[in-house]
Symmetry: C3
Subunit: 359 residues, 3 copies
């Protein structure tokens, strides 16, 4: 396995912005979520500033989210230690000197596009300019907006990326709902641009799928999926009458953002980018229901069955048969593996450096 | 542990026919069952021919049984690859050359005595002549026949074999149902014949058990259990008035066939060999109910408790106290261990041969 | 990890008396409980003498507690082997010589203070004089006594000891129930006396907690926790009007006794030492309910969350921040670790000795 593991996506890229939550999920009370195998507690300061701390008291390892928030300071429910937003212990109820170990990790966080982002690697590398571009989400998406959706998936996050980066599955797994026979056999075009990997599927002369106003009619359609490191995807799609110009409508954009919870479970955040006020409540609800039904009834059971069938093994160790339709998902996996490898090399360089100093 | 493992039944004998299912369980739709830790999907071709394929698409490891059957070809529900009855990929929806890895294992299968048999070892060794003899099951067992029963057991299959090959347990675990005090203390006679291991228990001058028409009367009775590799058993039994000739009636035969699902779970197939038409429905149902009650309420809880108490350890590593009543079960275990050891030696010979070629 | 493990409480001290059950839990029928990862079956002989045997038949590893008791002899439900109170096989239903392996461990047991004690280490070291002193439990505690309580906890027993030996948690985890603000910040005094570790908390000029008759009034109060090896605790507490002599009332004593079930689960026995006849039923029930509510609703969820957050890791390997309030729990952990280390050294001395003999 050794050689394989080196090449594989075992572990996580850590020096990257992961979606921790929708901004709306976190308020002024303690909110817990496990990310990349680490328990994290979130809250907002009085002025709304987001804070993320390791959710494990360094004293006796109680989850801090069971405690309470006192003026922006978290008090552990077990023995009363208090931590400020930097993770520093600011109150030792035992009254003695605060030991140096009495601190929790504070993670860099940043809010942008209604999303709370977290950086779980080296804090000094956490540059907000690196946050994946989700400006497709409107600043004012309306009271009935179809963003803010969440699913918990019992599968490794890379299997969910594989699913999204190869939309040829739509015509099988979602046959009759999102896909149909006419949409089969179109070749995906993959290109890389500024670190993002694009998988463009142009399907001229096909039948419009059920979610389109042109449903059942002859049409040209496209689904262009864009991956941004580490595990964020945006889908630009469209359906037009044959020969009409294929102009991307800003509301025909969906977001699919994944964050590993553990090696076998994933947080799946999704939504669409239309602006929906109260007068579009029905339409928005219909979109949300259709999307969720497809994910819950069709994608999730399959992805979880794949995870179970793989038994936790790395994809490459099972020597999959790779098709041309896999090109985008393979490139994404290789990109993530490269990130992980580089981080490890950087770490071992540091260790070597440190050893040299010791020697 | 090393020395012990070598002697023990860790792993499975693979070059052998295992019962996969009752013939009646498999129709023209996809039927999934895990056998010897391998997921398998079964179906019948139009002409009824049985097919068994590995239930894991070589592309992205989706369970094939979630797909559909199109003219004897299985289509994967995830991305649409199709496999014929030999496991060969015959359709790549991506349109490009089919990669050589795009094939699933097709397992030799054979139907005989209303049973679907599978060979999970080296396919070229799969000789139908080696199928265990269950000609005791009548060709036409009647509409109400008591064959075709199935139980799922949460225990290693060898513990179930131990149970069946030492019927002295009947007088304790099934006391008052299948056994009684008078049946205790009779010595089992064990002999081997053509690879089968026979455990004959002759109990003269005893009281007839509850399932006999002579119930409660003085009688001579016998239970002769026959093991056939790898994990198939047949029970010939009888009850006669004292001194009457002990003639085996063909309907007084039960079958007990086991197939490992995993190392800690077992498929248990059982039934009796009488011919029962609709006019014997009540009798047949009574037999089925009594048998199932004994297995479900008495054997299974004990066997599962033993498995739990052993915690997955090999029997020999726990140094059991062996009694004379264990002689048959120990011989069966040793026979299975020998099969496994020989398979391993054959494999390592091949490897050595291959290495010699390379050198 | 190696160095850490050596220093840590991995494993159990075995040469010690553990509480197996309240005397009232064991009658003349077979009673099963797993202790220190070993299944044990208990029963009483006709004269009431307590017996503890390994709950695993040496023949085929059936749990003996599924069997039956015949004149002080246990008959295995599977194949009928019988064991006397010394664990010796006294009946082999197969009729042949009883093999030497056909015996189960009989554990030294002793009843004292309404408690059934068990010794799971070397039997020849089992001196009843070493039984922890729970003479605080009255011989005649009354019909409505609040002893005999039991909780099953999904956490390592050391985490429960940590909880009990640092009562500063009362003012946070039990704030409003057992604790209040005035009780914070008092320094624990720790001393060792005859192998017992005392953690005395004297809280003058505080507000009486809810369980005291002086509830809400100004008072002096104390909670003195005493640990006795291996995992037994006694709590002496009291509340008096300010300046009154702090005289310990014999009824203001609670017992908290832990026994590991497995490495991640614990038997928790508790109660108070007042004498309650039928006329104090209401008071006794109130105390029992309040105590149980605090443990079930406040302590247990926290301790189980800590166990989960630690993921089975040894405390020291996680480098906890140690406060002055931890001094008693750390001393107890070190005392237990020392017991384990000494037992291991004694065992390896014996092994070395045996090797010398062989050589």
């Amino acid at each position: 396995m050794d050689g394989i593991v080196e090449e594989s996506a075992v572990g996580y890229a850590k020096n990257a912005w992961y979606m921790a939550a929708w901004s709306s999920e976190v308020g002024k009370t303690l909110f817990a979520r496990r990310l990349l195998d680490i328990p994290v507690v979130f809250f907002r300061e009085e002025d709304g500033t987001l804070v993320a701390l390791e959710d494990r008291c360094p004293h006796r390892f109680a989850p801090l989210h069971r405690g309470r928030l006192i003026n922006g300071v978290v008090e552990c429910a077990y023995h009363g230690l208090r931590f400020d937003t930097a993770g520093t212990c600011v109150h030792n109820p035992a009254g003695d000197t605060i030991p140096p170990q009495a601190r929790v990790r504070a993670f860099p966080v940043c809010e942008k596009h209604h999303i709370a982002w977290i950086w779980m690697g080296k804090a000094d590398l956490a540059d907000p300019a690196l946050i994946p571009d989700f400006s497709c989400i409107p600043d004012e998406p309306g009271e009935c907006a179809n963003i803010g959706n969440y699913l918990h998936v019992r599968a490794n996050y890379l299997l969910e990326i594989d699913n999204l980066m190869d939309l040829s599955h739509v015509n099988y797994l979602h046959h009759g709902t999102l896909g149909n026979d006419s949409m089969r056999g179109h070749k995906v075009k993959v290109h890389e641009e500024g670190g993002a990997i694009h998988a463009d599927l142009w399907m001229p002369g096909t039948t419009a799928p059920i979610y389109s106003p042109l449903y059942g009619q002859h049409c040209d359609q496209w689904t262009n999926m864009i991956w941004m490191a580490p595990s964020c995807m945006r889908l630009d799609y469209g359906v037009v009458s044959p020969g009409e110009p294929a102009i991307q409508q800003p509301e025909d954009v969906a977001v699919h953002i994944l964050t590993p919870e553990t090696g076998r479970t994933t947080h799946y955040f999704y939504g669409t980018c239309g602006v929906f006020g109260t007068e579009q409540r029905e339409l928005a609800e219909m979109i949300r229901a259709a999307q969720t039904a497809a994910f819950v009834n069709e994608d999730n059971p399959m992805i979880e069955a794949v995870d179970e069938n793989m038994g936790g093994a790395d994809l490459w160790s099972l020597r999959p048969a790779i098709l041309s339709s896999d090109v985008a998902s393979v490139r994404v996996r290789r990109a993530i593996e490269k990130m992980i490898r580089r981080e490890r090399e950087a770490t071992s360089d540091e260790v070597v450096g440190a050893e040299a100093v010791v020697a």
